[in-house]
């Protein structure tokens, strides 16, 4: 009940924002953030609950986007029908791919989904009607009545889809399906022996997850007024969809939402202020740090921090003294290195700087890992 109340409140706030805020860029960026919320939530249904890593997000997302684009080009279907058709197509893809490869161990499924992305991309590169390799230019229809611009409309639609995706994930998590999936993740053999219909559940999760990704892809051609294979089937979608739940926490539906909000806002910020490469680096480093040091993600860290602990006077005193010292030492070290590297870069020794950084990275990650562990587990 509380969930639905909050959902409606959020949707109302988003819709209100669409009428009040004038700056269109907010909606451009916000659309992407919400898109990743849907993709991460959808990914987590199979990847988080059942433990099957899916690298094929771009395949499902792209199939959805192309379904929308082709239907729009052929019959000028309204957006709602495009989204529904995209969900059906990508759901079918999930069903077929799942039936074919979910009998195998997780790593094989992961590899098969990579294959799926390339096959999809190749098919659409060779399909003339859908624009081939050069892509397809689409003319956006005028926005529907209450909205003054198309982007704002897409933003509100994506917000509704995000809430829908979270509702689906929440339902699955709390029902017998989620229990079955968790049993599969913990021990597939034990689940099978206890009478869990493992294959059926996995294929179901894969289908639902694919359908949600496809639905999220459908408005993309309208958002860009353009569609082409290379960027539609880009592996970066897979990175975002996989990294967000890993960072947020995979056990609960809140994890991917928090992860996607954090990660893609950060990405938007970094790619605008620094560069696109830096943005991929941020994802890579965050992914490795969280997977190594905080396997339960942000949610796990929060739960650890809030759990009642023997906060003895001595333990608290040690933390109060040590945390500022460690942080100050870290900042000082960073500053020294920064000055040093800045000097070296100014002299043109970029290779040295980056190789030193690369060599230091594992050590730094390990130290950060120990520090986080120490702060949360006395």
């Amino acid at each position: 009940m509380r969930f639905w109340f909050f959902s409606i409140a959020i949707l109302a706030a988003v819709a209100a924002a669409a009428f009040i805020v004038k700056n269109e860029f907010v909606f451009y960026a916000g659309y992407t953030v919400l898109l990743y919320v849907v993709l991460a939530t959808a990914w987590n249904i199979l990847g988080g609950y059942a433990g099957y890593v899916n690298f094929g997000t771009p395949a499902f997302f792209g199939l959805g986007a192309y379904t929308g684009a082709v239907l729009y080009k052929a019959f000028a279907l309204p957006l709602g029908l495009q989204i529904a058709a995209a969900a059906v197509m990508s759901g079918l893809l999930g069903l077929i791919a799942g039936l074919l490869t979910l009998r195998l161990r997780g790593i094989f499924f992961a590899i098969a989904t990579i294959a799926l992305v390339v096959i999809m991309e190749t098919v659409f590169i060779n399909w003339r009607y859908a624009g081939g390799a050069t892509g397809l230019q689409l003319l956006r229809p005028p926005p529907t009545a209450p909205f003054e611009s198309y982007i704002k409309m897409l933003f509100v639609i994506m917000a509704a889809m995000a809430i829908g995706a979270v509702a689906v994930a929440r339902y699955i998590q709390d029902s017998w399906i989620g229990r079955g999936l968790r049993a599969i993740r913990d021990s597939e053999e034990a689940a099978e022996c206890s009478g869990v219909a493992t294959l059926k559940l996995k294929v179901f999760a894969c289908t639902v997850s694919g359908a949600l990704m496809g639905a999220a892809g459908a408005p993309m051609p309208m958002y860009l007024s353009f569609i082409e294979p290379a960027s539609t089937f880009n592996l970066n979608y897979a990175v975002g969809a996989l990294a967000s739940p890993m960072i947020g926490g995979t056990a609960h539906w809140g994890g991917p939402v928090i992860g996607a909000l954090l990660l893609s806002s950060l990405q938007q910020y970094v790619s605008v202020t620094i560069s696109n490469e830096m943005n991929v680096l941020v994802v890579g480093v965050l992914l490795v740090v969280f997977v190594v040091a905080a396997p339960e993600g942000v949610l796990g860290l929060l739960r650890n921090a809030m759990a009642p602990k023997p906060w003895t006077r001595e333990a608290v005193q040690r933390r109060v003294v040590m945390i500022p010292i460690v942080i100050a030492a870290g900042v000082a070290l960073g500053a020294v290195l920064y000055v040093l590297f800045d000097f070296l870069i100014a002299k043109g020794e970029r290779v040295i700087v980056y190789s030193v950084l690369a060599l230091m990275l594992p050590g730094l990650l390990y130290l950060a890992f120990r520090f986080i562990r120490w702060v949360f587990n006395p």
Binding site: G47, G51, Y52, V53, F55, L100, T101, R103, L104, G106, I107, F108, A110, I111, A112, I114, A115, L116, V118, I119, E121, T122, V123, I125, N126, A133, R185, D186, L235, V239, L242, A243, M246, T250, E277, M278, V280, L281, V283, G284, V285, L287, V288, V291, V292, P295, R350, V351, Y354, S355, A358, L361, P362
Partner: protein, 292 residues
């Protein structure tokens, strides 16, 4: 139907290409096939090797020699990576699958961006006497560099096969792959052997990287294309079989090259071949062609 001479040419180039694919998959065949580590960063390490070869060749070192020189540091790197992976994932046990894959995926991203930051997004290539010239056989011109890569690939396969069948450590690695608990009971330390094997896999990836840059220019995000290809070869081969890896590489190379040369299909369909093949194998015979 294709004309016969075109088909012949396709098969010939396919064999050369296939040996190259087999060579770049050899390291993965050890790390994933034998050790069961979901090493999706293998192609990224290979591209790293290619760039190291590029740096060394700028100092006037022949690319193949550079690849051989690089095996030492890459061996150490591989041992470090495996140690880290073992301490953080394998030892803790629970739910290692998902996080292990995510870890290697993140590692691949970091290597990729690191290369972009250092070298930029431009393509890089090396120079050597055998790059650029070609040999004539009747009507067919074969670039000499593919022959060089072919030779290195064959030598690598023979060496690795001999290593795994004749030497003590090589057999120990195979033993770890077959039955780890039994090895532990015999008083051997499986982690040390696996660490050694992963070092070898990474060293082989360095040589593969040298071949990668010999056969054509490289760019930092090239690893993405090779994740699927290398895994396709290893899965097709049946995990961990060296001769199987060569056979699978050849199958992949020949089918890809025939599609490439086919008048109706052409280059735009070529990438789908390996992956369609992979999906087919996974669906029909998941233990691979030469699997146990």
């Amino acid at each position: 139907m294709m004309p016969l001479d075109l088909l012949f040419e396709g098969v010939l180039f396919g064999i050369l290409l296939g040996c190259f694919y087999a060579a770049v998959s050899m390291g993965l065949s050890v790390s994933f096939g034998l050790l069961d580590v979901p090493h999706v960063a293998h192609p990224a390490i290979m591209v790293l090797g290619a760039y190291c070869t590029f740096v060394l060749s700028r100092l006037g070192i022949d690319p193949i020699l550079a690849g051989v020189l690089l095996t030492a540091p890459f061996f150490l790197l591989g041992m470090l990576v495996y140690r880290f992976y073992y301490e953080t994932f394998e030892k803790r046990g629970t739910d290692a699958g998902v996080r292990g894959i995510a870890f290697f995926f993140g590692l691949a991203l970091i290597i990729e961006v690191g290369l972009i930051l250092v070298f930029g997004v431009d393509q890089r290539l090396v120079e050597a006497s055998y790059i650029g010239s070609s040999v004539r056989f009747g009507d067919i011109r074969i670039p000499q560099r593919t022959l060089v890569v072919f030779a290195v690939a064959v030598a690598l396969t023979i060496l690795l096969t001999l290593y795994f069948s004749r030497t003590f450590t090589g057999r120990a690695i195979k033993a770890v792959a077959q039955d780890e608990p039994a090895l532990r009971l015999m008083g051997a330390n499986p982690v040390r052997i696996k660490q050694w094997a992963f070092g070898i896999a990474t060293a082989v990836a360095a040589i593969a990287g040298a071949m990668l840059i010999i056969i054509g220019p490289v760019e930092p995000n090239m690893d993405r294309a090779y994740i699927g290809r290398t895994f396709a070869v290893v899965v097709l081969a049946g995990l961990g079989s060296m001769t199987g890896t060569v056979a699978a590489g050849l199958i992949l190379g020949i089918s890809e090259s025939i599609v490439l040369i086919h008048p109706d299909l052409g280059a735009s369909w070529a990438p789908a071949v390996s992956f369609a093949l992979l999906l087919l194998v996974l669906g029909i015979r998941p233990q691979g062609l030469f699997g146990r």
